[in-house]
């Protein structure tokens, strides 16, 4: 499995007590599969994504990304893991306003501060290839405010794929999009997951566009419930 959460519990401080966001969750996604995690606000789906993204450590349980147990890893090692192994697609795109679409992708080659010349050249080429793959070949020089909501979300997806991640984590990608654009984004994620062999987790409260995903997992009060799985899974 490219991504595996085993018996993960996560709590947050809540006044004098603690609120359980994830309750002994076990969840795994193989390479080339797209699993949708659905649930209402506050159900724990964003916490699941944060734990899988190594942005927050669980109280107990283990998180394994691309075969590596993240338990006990230091901040630097986790940062390195996110940079090389995990791609994140944020809610409402979260693009940097000063960068063009191509630069949003190229910045990934500069995150470690080394920016070797060869890597920069490769990043330039790969950025244009990925923008082409998400249908934005002609928009490479546009800044976020010059793109539509759907285009911005596609730039974010392309950015998440820049470092050829093993795991792709997607946070509410359709929340700011209309029906057609939301469907197009989910279709794109499904296609890219299958083409590139990533283990993709899509977190959403909107079940409208999940017809093509490989698996749907419901989350309620921090507990998962399998709702749908295709035969291939």
């Amino acid at each position: 499995m490219s991504l595996r959460l085993t018996d993960v519990t996560l709590t947050y401080p809540d006044g004098q007590s603690r609120l359980t966001a994830l309750d002994r969750v076990t969840f795994a996604v193989p390479a080339g599969a797209l699993a949708a995690v659905v649930g209402p606000s506050g159900s724990g789906k964003s916490s699941l994504l944060a734990v899988a993204a190594t942005l927050i450590a669980p109280d107990s349980g283990t998180v394994t990304v691309a075969g590596a147990d993240t338990t006990g890893l230091g901040r630097a090692a986790l940062t390195d893991l996110r940079r090389h192994t995990i791609g994140i697609v944020f809610q409402q795109s979260n693009l940097l306003p000063s960068l063009t679409a191509a630069e949003q992708l190229r910045v990934m080659a500069h995150l470690d501060g080394r920016g070797r010349a060869g890597a920069r050249t490769r990043a330039r080429t790969r950025a244009l290839d990925l923008l082409d793959a998400v249908g934005l070949a002609g928009q490479a020089h546009r800044r976020p405010h010059q793109l539509s909501g759907g285009q911005r979300q596609r730039v974010t997806i392309a950015r998440a794929l820049m470092n050829d991640p093993t795991v792709l984590l997607v946070d509410e990608p359709t929340s700011a999009l209309d029906n057609d654009r939301g469907a197009a984004v989910v279709d794109l994620l499904t296609r890219l997951t299958h083409e590139r062999g990533t283990a993709t987790v899509l977190v959403t409260h909107d079940r409208t566009h999940l017809g093509a995903v490989d698996r749907i997992v419901g989350v309620h009060d921090g507990r998962l419930r399998e709702e749908m799985v295709t035969e291939s899974q």
């Binding site: 940062t79 996110r82 000063s98 910045v107």
Partner: protein
């Protein structure tokens, strides 16, 4: 610097505004530094130009009130380790020539002493003028002037010594003594060139107070007050610049908080983000300081004939370097909040 350069271009209005502030502060600091040095030179150049390493005062540590006797001077000449001890009279008086009258400072030395330029041409009837004194009085070598009631000939015009903002007229010690009241002092101070002399013991024996030449500048009343005030202003400007730069980058870093969280979530190291932010501050500071210093140098050069502005690498480059160092310190204090940005906030955040 990938994001930093692009932020500079993208938010050019904000950075231009901040850059302009840095330019103006640097211009002010540069002008003040040149003016401070220029005024300081007008105050002390006659003393700092003396070929002496120590000055012995009599009675009081003050060029205005010190008096030394011939006996004190002779005792110093006999002191072991003293290579040269020359009496020096200092008096502010008035010189007139051809209807012009200006305040000058009469520096009395023994003819042939190395304290004054062209001192071998000093006699009881001939003086040496600094260029400023000659220009103010409209005199050249061979002309005559009246100094404190004495009619004297200009033996030569050389140097640009001034003391307490008045140009210096070098006279013989006898001539200087005649500018003072009857039974006046032998001299004001004794200029010493020493090599391992026990000055404390010699002071006790001679009844004098000896300080290093540069320390004696505080004995020029106007210099202490004026220089202190100007240095205080300069210090405040440096502090203000550090605070302004720090405040700007604090606001800028807060505004960029969401971007920083995204970059951290994507895998940017905190060190990379700090380097990026400090590099951005360095570019802004360096650009603003270079322009501001250039303007200060140009303006100072243009005004050099009308105001005492001293244009040297020390008066231009040192304040510029201090501006950059203090500005970077201010920026460093503000951008350190980058370390506290939690990448978790990038998830589910509403932008």
């Amino acid at each position: 610097m990938f994001v930093a350069w692009r932020d500079l271009r993208f938010a050019k209005g904000r950075f231009a505004l901040m850059g302009t502030v840095i330019v103006l502060i640097t211009l002010l600091v540069g002008l003040l530094s040149g003016l401070t040095a220029g005024l300081g030179r007008q105050n002390v150049s006659a003393v700092t130009g003396l070929p002496a390493d120590r000055i012995a005062f009599g009675g009081e540590l003050s060029y205005a009130n010190s008096t030394v006797t011939e006996g004190q001077w002779r005792r110093w000449t006999r002191t072991p380790g003293v290579e040269a001890a020359e009496p020096l009279g200092v008096t502010t008086t008035r010189a007139t020539a051809g209807g012009r009258g200006v305040g000058v400072c009469a520096f009395g030395v023994r003819p042939g002493s190395d304290l004054a330029p062209d001192s071998d041409r000093l006699t009881d009837h001939a003086v040496v003028l600094s260029h400023s004194a000659a220009a103010d009085l409209g005199l050249t070598a061979g002309d005559t002037l009246t100094l404190a009631g004495q009619r004297l000939t200009v033996a030569s015009v050389t140097g640009d010594a001034s003391f307490s903002h008045t140009p210096v007229v070098w006279t013989s010690l006898d001539t200087w003594q005649r500018t003072a009241p009857p039974d006046g002092p032998f001299a004001t101070v004794i200029a010493l060139r020493t090599s391992g002399a026990d000055t404390a013991t010699a002071d006790r024996a001679a009844g004098t107070m000896t300080v290093e030449r540069d320390d004696s500048l505080s004995a020029i009343g106007s210099y202490s007050a004026e220089n202190g005030s100007l240095q205080l202003m300069r210090g405040f400007l440096f502090a203000i610049s550090a605070l302004v730069v720090g405040a700007f980058f604090t606001v800028w870093t807060i505004q960029r908080g969401a971007d920083i969280a995204i970059l951290k979530a994507l895998g940017a190291t905190t060190a990379t983000l700090l380097r990026d932010a400090l590099g951005q501050a360095a570019v802004l500071l360096a650009g603003g300081t270079v322009i501001g210093s250039g303007l200060a140098a140009g303006l100072g050069a243009a005004l050099a004939d009308t105001v005492p502005f001293l244009l040297t690498p020390r008066t231009v480059l040192v304040p510029a370097a201090v501006m950059i160092v203090l500005g970077m310190a201010g920026a460093a204090l503000s951008v350190r909040r980058i370390t506290a940005v939690d990448p978790l906030t990038a998830l589910g955040s509403a932008r």
